[in-house]
């Protein structure tokens, strides 16, 4: 039971006084999140109505920044790219790790399954930046692994300047991490599959459901919660991630791999337009917020814990 330092019949002020130790204990957490999360969030919304150089010059623009955002050609191109990348990532995060998880889950040799699981988790612990830099080498037009591989199999004509060619830059960055079977979504799916009780599998086997049928009629419905969770997490993460583009292509060549987050980053830290940058941040936040609410309202159930 919860401990109460004050008596039930104490008036509120007395309860508060008697509980003062408790407030002291939670003070660091409350103070930190107030200063470093809530204040910046409020400030972002407030500053999005200003032309602001990050220091003293701050001029009220009303909805000027938002109007500018909706006619900003860079942002329009970026939004299209974002859509493409979201679709691409949804496929890669939903399909491939599911294959990996199903294979590991159905392996009869349990120690081997454990080893495969361990190996497939390794990409999570290797720093993202290291993975990016390795892939930069893989895509290197002269001695990169990909073009070398194409040469070995006699397809050197297909070799490309993967990151430096506007036709390929966007998808080359999105492609990083192939074959995408391991990592975080893999673990989520595996945990979901392991939660399915043995009885259900036994019953389905008696009913003759194996292989593909078992997947669609038994497993998929029972890990639907995990699927929904990953759809949501993937979309939210992709909207916010631009680090890969910043490091590998700087959004180029031209605008060929520009995404909204990266545009925001440049607007703020390259052009010192912190007000307009904040406005782009607010728009992305609104997008994430709406998606989260829609998800909670219409697609919840099954993923209770999510």
């Amino acid at each position: 039971m919860a401990i109460q330092l004050a008596k039930d019949r104490d008036p509120l002020w007395k309860k508060i006084v008697k509980s003062r130790m408790l407030y002291l204990f939670i003070l660091p957490t409350i103070a930190l999140i107030s200063i470093f999360s809530y204040y910046p969030a409020v400030s972002a919304v407030y500053r999005s109505f200003f032309e602001w150089d990050g220091a003293f010059r701050s001029v009220f623009r009303g909805f000027g920044n938002f109007k500018e955002a909706f006619t900003d050609e860079v942002l329009q191109v970026s939004a299209l790219h974002l859509l493409i990348v979201v679709v691409f990532h949804l496929i890669r995060e939903l399909v491939f790790p599911m294959v990996g998880a199903l294979l590991v889950f159905h392996l009869r040799h349990s120690r081997a399954a454990y080893s495969f699981r361990t190996l497939l988790v390794i990409p999570i612990v290797v720093p993202g930046i290291v993975i990016l830099l390795i892939w930069r080498f893989i895509y290197n037009p002269s001695i990169g692994l990909l073009n070398q591989l194409l040469t070995v199999v006699g397809l050197e004509d297909l070799g490309q300047n993967w990151l430096g060619d506007p036709r390929f830059s966007l998808l080359s960055v999105a492609f990083i991490g192939f074959p995408w079977a391991g990592g975080f979504p893999f673990l989520i799916y595996l945990a979901g599959l392991q939660n399915i009780t043995v009885d259900i599998f036994d019953a389905s086997t008696v009913d003759g459901a194996t292989g593909i049928r078992r997947f669609f009629y038994v497993e998929l419905p029972l890990v639907l919660g995990q699927v929904k969770l990953l759809v949501m997490l993937t979309i939210i993460t992709v909207i916010q991630s631009y680090q890969n583009y910043l490091i590998l292509t700087q959004g180029g060549p031209g605008l060929s791999s520009m995404v909204p987050g990266l545009h925001m980053y440049y607007v703020a830290f390259r052009y010192q337009r912190f007000g307009y940058g904040s406005a782009i941040g607010v728009i992305l936040f609104a997008l994430i917020f709406v998606l989260t609410v829609i998800n909670k309202k219409y697609f919840q159930g099954g993923a209770e814990s999510a």
Binding site: I3, I30, I35, A41, P127, L133, F184, I247, F285, A306
Partner: protein, 276 residues
């Protein structure tokens, strides 16, 4: 149990598929390790294999270049994770075990942070740090890292603390232990695994963070390992082998931690995703 021929074939198929997937997943890392002991000439001539002589000296050179970054990362990761977990566990303890005015409010005040994405706060947070005069100091990383750790940690720990049996705590109270003492002598020791899980998740996030240290640190001596690696490979025409050796060094701490704490690790990742 005897397998039918069809079952056997399906087992073989699964093995083949898994070996292929695992190999492709890990090949970039295998390639990184092989290339880390080669000179540029060896990379050009013996691309796929490893050629003698092995250039272990690549590691010495790489270490000389990145050791200050490694030190910065180790320091900031340790200090901010320990602080974050300490504050979070104290808060979780209070919220889980005590009844007081405002308890619900404070709980939701903390949890509601999950609705605030990093992309919204990046710019004002940078300005805040700048105005506080913390740019290019360790504080610029410390405070946000401690702060960001709170939501997830409080959430997970509060659930766990609430489940600790009352008898244990009642017994300690009868012995006359104060609340802080109960926290240190009963709650913390009982919660080591879950606290380890929470801490581990924070270690991964902080060690791998790139954008934030990039934004607040402009002097090379303050770079964390991620920013340092990106900087080195863009500024200098380094030997590829040395660069790869640097990548290996940067990956080692978490890899070792992972191998030592595999169970905690996997549980942390899945619980984090399903509960937060």
């Amino acid at each position: 149990m005897k397998l039918t021929p069809a079952q056997k074939a399906s087992e073989v198929g699964k093995w083949a598929a898994l070996v292929t997937l695992t190999f492709l997943t890990l090949y970039p890392f295998i390639f990184m390790i092989m290339s880390s002991v080669k000179s540029n000439a060896q990379i050009y001539t013996r691309f796929w294999g490893v050629a003698a002589p092995l250039h272990w000296d690549n590691y010495a050179v790489a270490w000389r270049m990145i050791s200050p970054f490694v030190f910065n990362s180790v320091f900031i990761t340790l200090v901010s994770v320990l602080t974050a977990v300490f504050f979070a566990s104290l808060t979780a303890y209070v919220l889980a075990r005590f009844q007081f005015p405002g308890r619900e409010f404070f709980y939701y005040y903390i949890i509601a942070i999950v609705m605030i994405p990093g992309i919204l706060t990046l710019i004002p947070q940078y300005i805040l740090i700048k105005n506080m005069g913390m740019r290019d100091t360790r504080w610029a990383l410390f405070f946000p890292y401690v702060s960001y750790g709170q939501v997830f940690s409080v959430f997970i720990l509060r659930t766990f603390f609430a489940g600790i049996a009352d008898d244990l705590i009642d017994a300690a109270r009868i012995d006359g232990s104060g609340h802080l003492r109960i926290y240190f002598t009963i709650i913390l020791p009982l919660s080591k695994p879950i606290i380890g899980t929470v801490a581990l998740m924070r270690v991964i996030t902080i060690w791998n963070d790139f954008i934030w240290p990039l934004v607040v640190m402009s002097q090379k001596k303050n770079f964390t390992i991620t920013v340092g690696l990106a900087y080195l490979t863009s500024e200098y025409k380094v030997e590829y082998g040395q660069a790869f050796a640097g990548y290996v060094i940067a990956s080692l701490p978490l890899l070792v931690l992972f191998l030592l704490t595999m169970k905690t690790f996997v549980r942390g990742i899945t619980s984090g995703a399903l509960k937060a």
